[in-house]
Amino acid sequence: MTALIEGRTGQWEIVIGLEVHAQVTAKAKLFSGAATAFGAAPNSQVSPVDAGFPGMLPVINRHVVEQAVKTGLGLDAEINLVSVFDRKNYFYPDLPAGYQISQYQQPIVGRGRVILDMPDGATRTVGITRLHLEQDAGKSLHDQHPKETYVDLNRAGIGLMEIVSEPDLRSAEEAGLYLRKLRSILRYLGTCDGNMEEGSLRCDCNVSVRHPGDPLGTRCEIKNLNSVRFVMQAIEVEARRQVDLIEAGGAVEQQTRLYDSIRGETRRMRSKEHDHDYRYFPDPDLLPLVLEQDWLDRLRAELPELPDAKKARFIAEFGLTVEDATVLVAERATAAYFERAAAGRDAKAAANWVMGDLFGALNRLGLGIKASPVAPERLGALIDLIADGTISGRIAKDVFAAMVETGAAPGDIVEQQGLRQLSDTGMIAAAVDAALAAYPAQVAQYAGNPKILGFFVGQVMKATQGKANPAVVNDMLRRKLGG
């Protein structure tokens, strides 16, 4: 899915690489024992280690290492049994020690891949260059005071996984798909909650343009994009800016830029102008990280089934379409719900109910699937009631609405409200006869206009409060109308 830009001098291809910073889900920080919970009072979740006080030293959190390895395994990547922590040196108020502990030449995870589920059902593989662990910085607030910047170090030292993609993406849409898939994988693994609004997932975007077939153009980095929508917008805006610049005779300068969503433009970032010399060197307070192969094997064995495997299994075991399977596996909780609802019954029906009525109700109520008022087994029971003819599909929708409202079991609702489908041929026959008797003119029209059948079906359904079995009604009417 390449989205070429039409320029005056021809077509332009956009080349995109994404660097995602994912906050590692853990109780404590990467190198200190302070807490990581979002939204705490400023500077209340800060250890003297995080604040870069004199004499303080880092000690690595085993769980954070595990999370990074699991993520690497989930990205089908090489895990480096030996990796090294390096200091990245620069000055900024939210970087208390004047250096960030990161990984430079020997990261914990090497090459991997993410498979994109394209809208047309095909897949496209995007390469991962590497994943490394590093400390998050604190937060600088520039808008609290006219002349001062305020600094909160709560976030300083939280473990981040920096996940770097190969420059394999070719459109804003692909970038969106990649981010969503990556987020899905991270959430499946439980290694990052993927919450972009809270900042647990941030994206920097490298964008360049070229005529198809040409070598890579000069890229610009757009930093700190905190929603998928903004990532996609920023890419389009920046690509257009570069095309216009080149076609006007200019050249793209390598620089760092910010996206202004209000103005819909990217702007050069002033503070990053000087100082690209980070003087990386191995952190002498930390020895190389050496992972044991058996530990790695155990982690691999304990990985949950990931979206791609689950999708393939849903297609094979449940006969779902690629599109349906893709939607259902996007969130682990949704896939689990679907499987329980589909167990031992028509999977396609279960899929339709989940993706249709259930998603609709959850969206309306602003709930996630884990908070669904309808349990998957109960949805399954509802589907059974349709399958065995107890109720019609039409009535089932009303029953479902009642289930959402009351949380009651479908069978109970059907009984309480007397919604049982009428299949008693005697009673239906009586209603049919009554309808035919009431509208002799329409009866006569039937021979020339078979669509009149629908009118009579409607009458019978009205007379039976919608409970008559539609198949039986149709059948009986046809015979009596003489066809």
């Binding site: 024992g33 009072a41 209340s44 250890s47 959190n61 900024y92 108020p93 001062e148 503070s271």
Partner: protein, 100 residues
């Protein structure tokens, strides 16, 4: 390796140390002398020799994922030359404004 004033000024900028014009010349001379002294290391054959970052011959020790620190705002802010005072800014460090 000889350093001139411009090179010293550049290093000082990286290190965020303001040097006066009069300091640059003597520093350039001193630093050049020290760097010249380092040239002797070029005589050492270090082909296939691994670099030594630490004298500690142990693996990297790891800690458990439990919260053992933090919740000590007074201790963290207690030495701050300019911590933002009361009102909505309470509890922050304060520095001259950074323009993005």
């Amino acid at each position: 390796m000889a350093l001139d004033k411009a090179a010293v000024a550049q290093i000082a900028a990286l290190a965020r140390i303001r040097l006066s014009e009069t300091e640059l010349e003597p520093l350039a001379a001193e630093l050049s002398q020290i760097l010249g002294w380092f040239e002797q290391l070029a005589e050492v054959d270090t082909e296939n020799v691994p670099p030594m970052t630490s004298a500690a011959a142990i693996g990297l020790p790891m800690r458990e994922d439990i919260v053992t620190d933090g919740e000590c705002r007074e201790a963290i802010l207690g030495n701050a030359p300019r911590a933002a005072p009361g009102g909505p800014a309470k509890g922050f460090f304060a520095v001259p404004k950074v323009v993005e």
